[in-house]
């Protein structure tokens, strides 16, 4: 059938797809065109059409040793590393723990409670942590009323990374177990039975059956994490920059926002954002290839 016939035949399907596709195309793909201002001395009152082209001038910030940019880059990498080491394994451990609960009722209750923080906004989470740990918060009031020294956590740049790491763990560990639990429930029961007959202990079962069964999902999530490693908690950090200062809390995304939208250095901010996005994409592709090389499914297979 010639293509115009098929087009005419399927026009109802295409019409149904149109509005949703339009949103994705405009806000995901056409938006990419906005990156051209990375090559401009962009002035909002001139717009993209009349702003002057400056070639790669804006990209010099990446190599000129600009202290603010370097701080943002360093903070991003440090926070990503902390999250990979401390935040990533937490739901795996919790999922194993939940999975080993014998009573389904207890497990469902615990799950319902621990999933909840995921559905709260970062504004609420940050506010809750302030109320508990802040200078006039629950813990410090308790310490003071017993004659002890209050501890300085909120607004203390030395404690900041510990603070944000615990915030992420509090908010998302429970929810992140959901995928692991689904995988655990799907592991073939006969493997456990066979190993039990062979005299395997619980620990050996975990080591030889459960963990290998979880390997594909763990690798897939690590890949996603790697692809995302230059984007760390924009909302979480921007909310706390006022209290703790940019020195420890500025990351690439907040740098782009602060320099571009707030500071008016649109071209430079766009250049940093563009490079960040490009590296992120390359990271996903490379990590996915690596997963295939190790014989895993990865995120997608082209």
């Amino acid at each position: 059938m010639p293509w115009w016939r098929r087009l005419a035949r399927d026009r109802a399907v295409l019409l149904l797809a149109l509005p949703g596709m339009a949103v994705i195309v405009v806000f995901q793909y056409l938006a990419l065109g906005g990156n051209v201002i990375a090559f401009q001395d962009y002035q909002p009152y001139l717009g993209i059409e009349r702003s002057l082209w400056v070639g790669f001038e804006n990209f010099q910030i990446l190599f000129s040793g600009d202290p603010e940019f370097l701080a943002a880059l360093r903070n991003t990498l440090v926070i990503t590393l902390l999250q990979t080491v401390f935040v990533f394994p937490a739901p795996i451990v919790l999922a194993l723990l939940l999975h080993s609960l014998v009573s389904n009722r207890v497990r469902q209750w615990v799950q319902s409670i621990l999933y909840l923080p995921h559905f709260l906004s970062w504004v609420i989470v940050v506010a809750v942590f302030q109320q508990i740990l802040g200078g006039a918060g629950l813990i410090n009031n308790f310490l003071r009323s017993h004659g002890w020294q209050p501890i300085d956590i909120i607004g203390n740049s030395d404690a900041f990374y510990a603070l944000i790491t615990s915030q992420v763990i509090w908010k998302d560990t429970g929810w992140a177990t959901i995928l692991f639990l689904a995988v655990l429930a799907g592991i073939d029961k006969s493997l456990y039975e066979a190993s039990a007959v062979d005299g395997a202990s619980r620990w050996r079962q975990t080591w030889h059956i459960t963990l290998p069964g979880m390997r594909p999902i763990i690798i897939m999530l690590l890949i996603l994490k790697l692809g995302d490693s230059l984007s760390v908690g924009f909302e979480q950090l921007i909310l706390q920059q006022q209290a703790v200062g940019l020195g420890v809390s500025d990351v690439l995304d907040t740098y782009v926002y602060n320099q571009g939208v707030l500071g008016g250095f649109w071209g430079v901010a766009a250049a940093v954002g563009l490079v960040k996005g490009a590296i992120g994409l390359v990271l996903v592709l490379v990590a996915n290839k690596t997963a295939h090389a190790f014989g895993e499914e990865g995120v997608y297979r082209a």
Partner: protein, 322 residues
């Protein structure tokens, strides 16, 4: 370690997903082949999980208690109250009196309502269209949707699009850019794809149009998935902070999350002028702050049981079967 399965073959008949029908013998050293935990391990697990649950619940108790406690008790405690001695609703009366908080609340309700409706409409129509394998352009469109999952256009480009469309400082800026989640489209499509073809073919032979297939067959059969996806969109709009921060410089159009940031996280003083009242004395700032927090958390708590009932079922079956 015991290696016997006391209940004989019973565990296998229980099936892989139905753990409730386990035989209740006196000794069950092995269930479904998994050795049972010893007393030591059970104690440790119990303690760990109790602490984890307490860490989640206690802050909520504190926030709700403080918002309800009497001004005297809050002042005396210097902030946080865990057990209120009396109930005082004046903080709630003040934030509902028509000032900035009330207005932000209305804006959040409006954005969440319109946004969720629009999102569901766009996501289900697109998901349905993409499930019609073999139709013109469907493969290409599916690819466009899937590839969009791999990258993010970035903060500045997103801002420029919204600006160019003239949406800055309008409520549409809080709705349209996030109205279609490619991930949700894929989930909904996965559900439509596994509907039995016979039903659709039969309806088509009876002369149903594409729209009728979608509206009369697709949608009614996919209610559980729509419930989950709708709730996720709803919670997303209610909690959205990034879009509002980026696109709304006009404080009179701020949703609740931005008001929450200004008056609770950043600790700006809420005066009687902001609250739209002329009261000589206000409750302590902490009481007002906690009341705002409660108001922003309660809607999430209200839909949470529904979300919870569905997400394990609808979301994962949809996503995993892909």
């Amino acid at each position: 370690m015991s290696t016997t399965t006391t209940a004989g073959p019973a565990p296998t008949t229980a099936g892989p997903t139905m753990n409730d029908d386990r035989p209740r013998g006196r000794m069950r050293p092995v269930i479904d082949g998994v050795a049972m935990p010893g007393p030591m391990e059970r104690t440790v697990k119990g303690i760990v999980l109790t602490i984890a649950c307490a860490l989640v619940i206690l802050p909520f108790v504190g926030i709700i208690s403080t918002s309800l406690a009497t001004p005297e008790q809050v002042t005396e405690a210097g902030g946080f109250v865990l057990l209120p001695t009396g109930i005082d609703l004046s903080a709630y009366r003040m934030i509902f009196a028509g000032g900035v908080v009330t207005q932000a609340l209305w804006i959040s309700i409006l954005v969440t309502g319109i946004g969720t409706t629009l999102s569901l409409a766009l996501t289900t129509t697109l998901g349905w269209a993409l499930s019609r394998k073999g139709a013109f352009g469907v493969r290409a469109m599916l690819l466009v949707v899937l590839i969009s999952l791999l990258f993010n256009p970035g903060i500045i480009p997103s801002y420029l699009v919204v600006q160019r469309l003239g949406l800055l400082d309008t409520l549409w800026a809080l709705i349209i850019p996030t109205s279609v989640s490619a991930f949700n489209v894929v989930v909904v499509r996965a559900f439509f794809v596994q509907l039995p073809n016979e039903v659709i073919d039969a309806a088509r032979i009876d002369g149903a149009t594409e729209w009728q297939l979608f509206w009369r067959i697709g949608l009614p059969l996919s209610k559980p998935v729509l419930a989950v996806v709708g709730l996720f969109y709803g919670v997303g709009y209610w909690n959205a902070f990034f879009n509002a921060l980026l696109y709304m410089s006009d404080a009179s159009k701020w949703p609740l999350q931005l008001v929450l940031r200004t008056y609770v996280v950043d600790g700006a003083q809420l005066g009687s002028q902001d609250l739209g009242i002329d009261a000589a004395s206000l409750p302590p700032q902490t009481s007002l702050q906690m009341a705002i927090l409660v108001v922003s958390i309660v809607p999430v708590l209200l839909v949470y049981p529904f979300l919870q009932r569905h997400f394990a079922k609808g979301m994962l079956t949809g996503a995993v079967k892909g």
